[in-house]
């Protein structure tokens, strides 16, 4: 069984921008460990000569004409923003 440590869980949580408690890290370590172990059954298959599938249909580079369209009105766009000021989305301090 692949063991996932709580430190690995905390690292992954940081990468995914999720704050996590010690208790949660332990719970997720167990659960992710068993899911990863389950997923490792794929190693039974020799895939050395198999192309990966990223897309099931044979489509490539679907482009539209490079023409600008009408944007959304600013008031509408800001309607769902948790905080905004002077027509702009407001966030906490980025630089100290």
């Amino acid at each position: 069984m692949t063991k996932i440590t709580t430190d690995e869980v905390k690292h992954v949580a940081h990468l995914a921008r999720l704050s996590i408690t010690e208790q949660e890290a332990e719970k997720f370590a167990d659960q992710l460990g068993s899911i990863i172990t389950f997923a490792e059954q794929l190693n039974e298959l020799d895939t050395s000569n198999v192309e990966p599938t990223t897309h099931v249909l044979e489509m490539k580079n679907i482009m539209r004409e490079d023409k600008s369209g009408k944007g959304l009105p600013r008031e509408e766009v800001l309607k769902n923003a948790p905080d905004h000021q002077d027509g702009q989305v407001k966030v906490p301090t980025i630089l100290e």
Binding site: R17, Q41, N80, V89, P92, I94
Partner: protein, 485 residues
């Protein structure tokens, strides 16, 4: 008798004969919702005022030419499908107050077809789950037994149709999320071919697998609803430039000479005996109608669940990065800086299953593990797709059960992710291969819960899937069974 015992063609006949009005249809929906939805809990948001206003304006169009094909029909919409001006949450706290400023393409198409959106339907948060227990807001019940789950993630969409609250609904299916709840609730649910229906305005879970599809009480209505929403969309570069045929004309009842493949892996030990028995009986019906049945093998289907969880979680970890508390949605308070704001917002806004999958996906995509997990899963996906390609060289459809068992008790599997995931073992390969699949009612279990028959077709051949489903439906009376509520 409820008006919704009539199929679409009959309801429109009643409208034209002036025996009913469009308002009657809309009121029928809200009346039924007020009678049963405190128990079923299928709906998250209702849109009654606007629906009644639209009904009035449609009624005045009744004698005019150019009515839409879903004229006057009440439709429920899964809550991960964006509807302008109508709260859309994906059943997540992080989108609890989200008021969309644009319409999904399918919502536009419903409106253009003169359908009436009744409200938004409950689901597993971000469509991650198989029981609708992962909704932040409510636990939808199976109308056949209120102690069991409706399936998921489109549990609200299937339960609402089964309970007679709406005759039509839209769901989405990433690994079985339309077909499994349709099976559990005894209704008809189709996952179209990947690319058949635009995903524009579908809140993305796993972009290479997600498809929107119709849930109805009978196959004919299902074909009408797909007809209305299918087709190329310039706003979705993965929607396919493939002609949409007239699905209704495929419903001939004639399946003489049709070649059916039954994968032995779909009739094996992991599938309960009564489910297998119901499929054997269905196959007899189809043979009686002139189809031939052969046993085949989908040798890689057993790797479907593992492949699916690696790929869908990886895609989800990227797709859900946009929920950061900045431009829309929930924002945590008392954050010290920007990173802290992201972390607190996401930790407070997402439920456990969503976090689990984001972390699994982040892990599978992270440096050093990418080839071992993500790329490996993409390669196995190729093998699973090739299994189907080979069978479809010789056969018209693949038939088997939709799920290994009927519905299960609320709370029974929710704490055990792997057991819950195993529920989708028969539906997942269909998404991985991108082919269409339908679940149609196939009778009841010994405990009185619905069982589903799954019919899988070639890419873009929904017509044959519908033809077989319709022939089966017309030869049986499973689809006429109703839960007592």
């Amino acid at each position: 008798m409820s008006l919704f015992e009539h199929k679409l063609a009959d309801l429109q006949g009643l409208l034209h004969k002036k025996e009913i009005t469009v308002t009657d249809l809309v009121r029928e929906s809200y009346k039924r919702i007020s009678e049963v939805d405190d128990r079923v809990q299928a709906f998250l948001t209702l849109d009654e005022e606007r629906a009644l206003a639209q009904a009035e304006s449609l009624q005045s169009k009744l004698s005019a030419d150019g009515q839409g094909m879903l004229f006057g029909m009440p439709v429920g919409v899964k809550d991960n499908i964006v509807t302008k001006g109508l709260r859309t949450t994906a059943a997540s706290k992080i989108l609890g107050n989200f008021d969309p400023i644009y319409n999904s393409t399918v919502a536009d198409k419903l409106f253009a077809a003169d359908a009436i959106t009744i409200g938004k339907l409950n689901m597993d948060e971000f469509a991650m789950g198989s029981s609708t227990e992962n909704s932040h807001f409510a636990k939808t019940k199976n109308p056949w037994n209120l102690e069991t789950v409706p399936g998921g993630s489109s549990g609200g969409s299937a339960a609402a149709v089964a309970a007679g609250e709406v005759p039509f609904s839209l769901g989405s299916d990433t690994g079985g999320s339309i077909r499994q709840p349709a099976s559990f609730c005894g209704v008809v649910g189709l996952k179209p071919t990947y690319g058949r229906v635009s995903r524009f305005g579908l809140i993305a879970f796993a972009s290479s697998l997600d498809q929107i599809g119709p849930i109805t009480r009978n196959v004919e209505d299902n074909a009408y609803l797909l007809q209305a929403i299918a087709g190329l969309d310039p706003n979705d570069s993965t929607s396919a430039n493939v002609e949409v045929p007239d699905y209704k004309s495929a419903l001939t009842g004639d399946i003489k000479g049709l070649k059916i493949a039954v994968p032995k892996e779909y009739m094996g030990e992991g599938v309960s005996e009564e489910v297998r028995q119901s499929v054997r009986e269905a196959l007899k019906v189809l043979e009686g109608l002139g189809a031939t049945v052969d046993e085949v093998s989908l040798p890689h289907s057993k790797y479907g669940v593992a492949t699916y969880y690696l790929l869908s979680s990886s895609e989800a970890s990227a797709n859900l990065a946009r929920f950061d508390g900045i431009r829309y949605g929930y924002r945590a308070e008392n954050a010290e800086n920007l990173i802290d704001l992201y972390k607190k917002t996401r930790a407070e806004g997402f439920g456990d299953e969503v976090k689990r999958r984001i972390m699994l996906g982040t892990y599978a995509l992270s440096s050093g593990y990418y080839d071992a997990y993500y790329k490996k899963a993409q390669q196995v996906r190729t093998l699973i797709k090739q299994d189907f390609d080979q069978i479809f060289e010789q056969y018209d459809v693949v038939v088997g059960p939709t799920t290994p068992t009927p519905s299960f008790k609320i709370g029974e599997k929710v704490d055990d992710p792997l057991t819950m995931y195993a529920n989708d073992i028969l539906t997942i390969p269909v998404n991985l291969a991108g082919v269409p699949g339908i679940s149609v009612p196939a009778g009841l279990s010994s405990s009185g819960l619905p069982l589903g028959l799954q019919i899988i077709g070639k890419h873009f051949d929904e017509s044959t899937v519908y033809r077989v489903a319709h022939a089966f439906e017309q030869a049986t009376d499973h689809h006429t069974l109703r839960p007592e509520l």
